[in-house]
Each structure stands twice: as structure tokens, then as C-alpha cells.
Point group: C2
Chain length 325, copies 2
Amino acid sequence: MPVVTAIACSNIALIKYWGDRDTDWHIPANGSISMNLDGLFTLTTAITAPQLSGDQIIIDAKPAIKSTQQRVVQFLDRFRQLFGIYHYFRVESTNNFPSGTGIASSASAFAALSLAVTTASGINLSEAELSRLARLGSGSACRSIPGGFVEWQAGHDHASSFSFSIAPPAHWPLVDCIVIVQEQTKQVSSLEGHALAVTSPLQSIRISHADQRLSDCRKSIMSRDFDLLARIIELDCHMMHAVMITSDPPLLYWQPATLAVMQSVIQWRKAGLPVCYTIDAGANIHVLCEGEYQDQITERLREIPGVIHIMHAKPGGSAYLETDN
Amino acid sequence: MPVVTAIACSNIALIKYWGDRDTDWHIPANGSISMNLDGLFTLTTAITAPQLSGDQIIIDAKPAIKSTQQRVVQFLDRFRQLFGIYHYFRVESTNNFPSGTGIASSASAFAALSLAVTTASGINLSEAELSRLARLGSGSACRSIPGGFVEWQAGHDHASSFSFSIAPPAHWPLVDCIVIVQEQTKQVSSLEGHALAVTSPLQSIRISHADQRLSDCRKSIMSRDFDLLARIIELDCHMMHAVMITSDPPLLYWQPATLAVMQSVIQWRKAGLPVCYTIDAGANIHVLCEGEYQDQITERLREIPGVIHIMHAKPGGSAYLETDN
């Protein structure tokens, strides 16, 4: 009875994934770049046993709600089909951070799940193969397989669409100060939002300029050029939210406190602090700074009305098995 | 010694003007539609007298600051050149609303000025001709010449770019609740902002889809279809702000209270209230509703943190001479 536990970090996109070229296979409309978030992880145990007559999905020690159950079983069916597997799984999963608040819980969840179920099935995949598999559960999960700073090559089919590390965690000691301004689950999930991207007249331009932003972002990471990173990730974030607010129906994820943090960060950077922001499909905001400024930035962030709490993450490593440690 | 006083209302754009095809002549990149704002006006007196050895520009009983003085004199020079006029003017102008806060003070100011100086010079222009002239002072001023609901036909040169009324003020008793959330002058003026529009990769798409939005907006006004109006003016507003936040440098005019009002209005409309919003190049927000809901909406708006005060305007009339009344 194989019991395998895998751990994968969440990640924050610096160049965003928003909209698919192929929804079924999660082939994205554009490539993206992210940083893994050390300490914000999903821990997933996969168990195979002959007596299982169906998949059992347990989240935080309770049977998963129906929509989650369906999504995970669909992924497991896909995995079984692709790899010729015929057994069921009991999956036990916990996040150490709140889900549905703009921190990509589905990214770490499907990354950890992919590593757990393949290992439990005796299948040993390369990082790229594992990344492809994780992508089928949630697009951004493919970025939580490799470590550090990660690029997801958009590709054009299942084989060509996967992620790889472009720099290890220690390359650049950035810190992501994750500013929680809204704790309830967002009204429109990322998965539903992706499907709306094409309804915005601006999406095609966002996509057609993505290669330039990817190139600039890669360059900023390689050369540890914070000013360039700041300019490019804020532009890319604005591009995605421009698409969101002009889709049909429009998606306005920002809340008053989101704007308060954005405006503050812009002012702080003007005054010389190496700090910038990015925002996923939610109201919470990721404020990135160089490590030595973490305390100062955190103190300032705490003073902004509407900030509920702040988590911190350094660049995180790749997905791993519990037994690896 | 001719002394002529003219009055013109400000206007709120329902379909926005943002970016010029020809900066020098203020030929806009796209057509726009606005509603004149009754009761929010500029009153301008133009005086010609042989003893004037230069233009005197008096705003609120004080000599204008240098940048305003230059802008007005530049306009007067243009006027003199176009019409073969050789005398100077003393111009005395007052607004009955605060300037530089996202209410188009330059619109009402140059509309009133155009009517005052032409009349003081013995020149009797048609509405279209007056609208063209006002456009040279400030693009949106051409929309403050005709009355009620006004369309500015983009055109391609000075002759073809002017505004006309598409419905009189009484056609649709809407109310604009102008929600002031920031009283200081904005950091980037509309005039400077227009020049940045082309630096956004999204501007070309905003322009290329403008005809559809103009057509929908026109239709919504003609048929008094509030739902269509709401959908189209919020989309158009988001389109403009999408361009602003992706221009170089980015323009992020929204403040936390702007977002608070946006989110509230969206919720109220979902709950059945005929209410929608639009935002110009500033943090303040215009909340439009059908007249009978003004009190209810105003009461709700007052409860939103960050709302400083609220002004109200019904659809306003055309620019007029004081002696007309």
C-alpha cells in the first residue's frame, strides 16, 4: 500500500498567465514567469490501496466539497488515462495558507498532487514531464514544480507547454510581502476568469506584447535589476487587470485597500525604496522588495487602512517528496 | 468698450476623449459623447478696450497663474489669427465649482471664453463654428457649447471636428452625483495625460472599438435604456483607465475611495438600482442615476468612507450670453 507525501510551494506570477489558447489542455495564450513562495505550501499524501472503490479526496481532514472533488477526480482520470493506470487514490491535502484569496492554492495543490500520485504509482517523471502533468490540474501549477524563479514556456501543445527554472532561489534574495486585504473567497475564481479573457478587446494586444515583457522580466531577474523588474511587473499586472476590467462581464478584483497599497508603493519607490507590487485575480496584493527592506516595508504596510495581515515569502524551492528530506 | 459675459456648463464624458490624432488642433483620436452639467459652470466676461496693451487674464478676481495665463493667451492668439482680430482682451473668469479635481473646468472655461470673445469682437458664429473654436482651447470644451446630450464628431481636421446636441436636457432626467474623494489638484493634468495615451499598447484597440461604443451609447440615450447606458459607459471608462495604467509612465488616477464607490455602485445595480459610474482623469467619480433615485443614492454614497462631498447636476443647456436671459 504505497503512501507518498509531496510538498510544493505556491508561486506568484511576475509576468501573468491570463487566458488559454487551449482550455482543455491549459495551453496558455502567453508564457509567464513566477517566483516560488517559500513557506507557503501544500502538503499532499497520495495512498493507493486495492480496497479503494473510488477516489477519496480529503482537504484539511474533511471530504472535499463537490466542486473540488470533481476537479481533482477529473485530474486523476486524466493522469490514469495518460499513463495507463487503473487504480484509485485516497488524497489527503492541506495548505498552510488560506485558499481562495489570491494566493495560488491550486498551483501548489496540483503540483504536490502530481508528484504524490506519480510516485505512489511507481512512475518516475522528469521535472518537465511533471510540470506538464501539473498543468492539467491548474495552469499555474506547472510553475510550482521547478524551483526559484520559473518560466512557463507557453508552447502550442501538451508536449511543448511546461516550466523550467531560470534562476535558483538563492540567486536573488527578494521577499514577497503578501498583503491580505480581503479574507473571503473571491467571487469569480481564476478558472472562470481565464475563460473571460477572450471577451476583452484588449486581450489580443496583451498577448502580442507578452514576449517583450517576458524578455524584460527575464533580463531583470538575471541582472538583479530591481528598477526594471518593478517597471515590468507593474506594467504586466496592469495589463492583466486592464483585460479583466474590460471583459464581459467585467472583473474588478481591486478593493479600496488594494489601491491604497498600490498608491503607497508607487510613492515609496519614487522616494528611493526598492519596492514594487503585483496583483493576481483577487484583491490581495503582493509587495516585492529586496530582503533587507522587508522590516521597513512591512511596518509601513501595516499602517495602511484596510490591511488585515501580511505574510512573507522568500524565493522557494522545487516540489519535493517528504522522504527526500 | 464692449463688455460681454458668457456662461457655459461643464460636461461629463459618457464616451471618453483620450488622446489626439492631431495635438496642435485637438483633433481627437476618437469621437465622444457627454452630458452637460447643469449648475456647474464658468462665467466669463470679455472686455475689449483701446487702452489695453496686452491680454489680462483674471481668474476668481486674481491675475491668473503663469501657466493658465499662457494657455489662455495662446488661445486668444489663435482666435485673433483665425478671425483677423487685432485687439487685446481683459478676461475675467470664475467657476462655481473647484477646478483640477476631475470636473472638466477647462471645458466650461474655454466654451464660455469662446462665446464671450467672439461676441465682444462682433463676430456671430454658428454653434458648430463656436464648438470648433472652443476645441482649440481644450478638446472637451467643444462639447460644452451645444446643450443637453452632446456628441463630438472626431473628424479629421479643424472643419470636421465639432460637437452637436443629440438630445435636449429634458430628454432624459438623469442626475450626475459627482462624488469628491480628493480635493487637491491632480498630479498629471488631462492635457499632459492626453499626450501619454499613445504610449500605451492598448490605445489603438480602444480607438478601433470606439465607434461601436459610440453607437451603443447614442442608442442608449435615444431609447433611455439605462442598463445599456450603464454597461457601455462603465466599459468605456474602464477602457480609458486601462490605457492610462498601461501608459509610460503609468497614470493611476484612482484612489481607495474611488474603488469603494465603484464596487458599491456595481453591487447596487446588481440589486436593481438604476445607477452607474464614470471616472475622468482624476480620482473623483461621477455616479449617474435616474432622477427619482438621487436622494437614495446620495444617502448611500455619503456612508462610503473617503467620500468628502457630493455635488449634483442634471443635464445642462448650451453656452449662453448673460444678456440672453
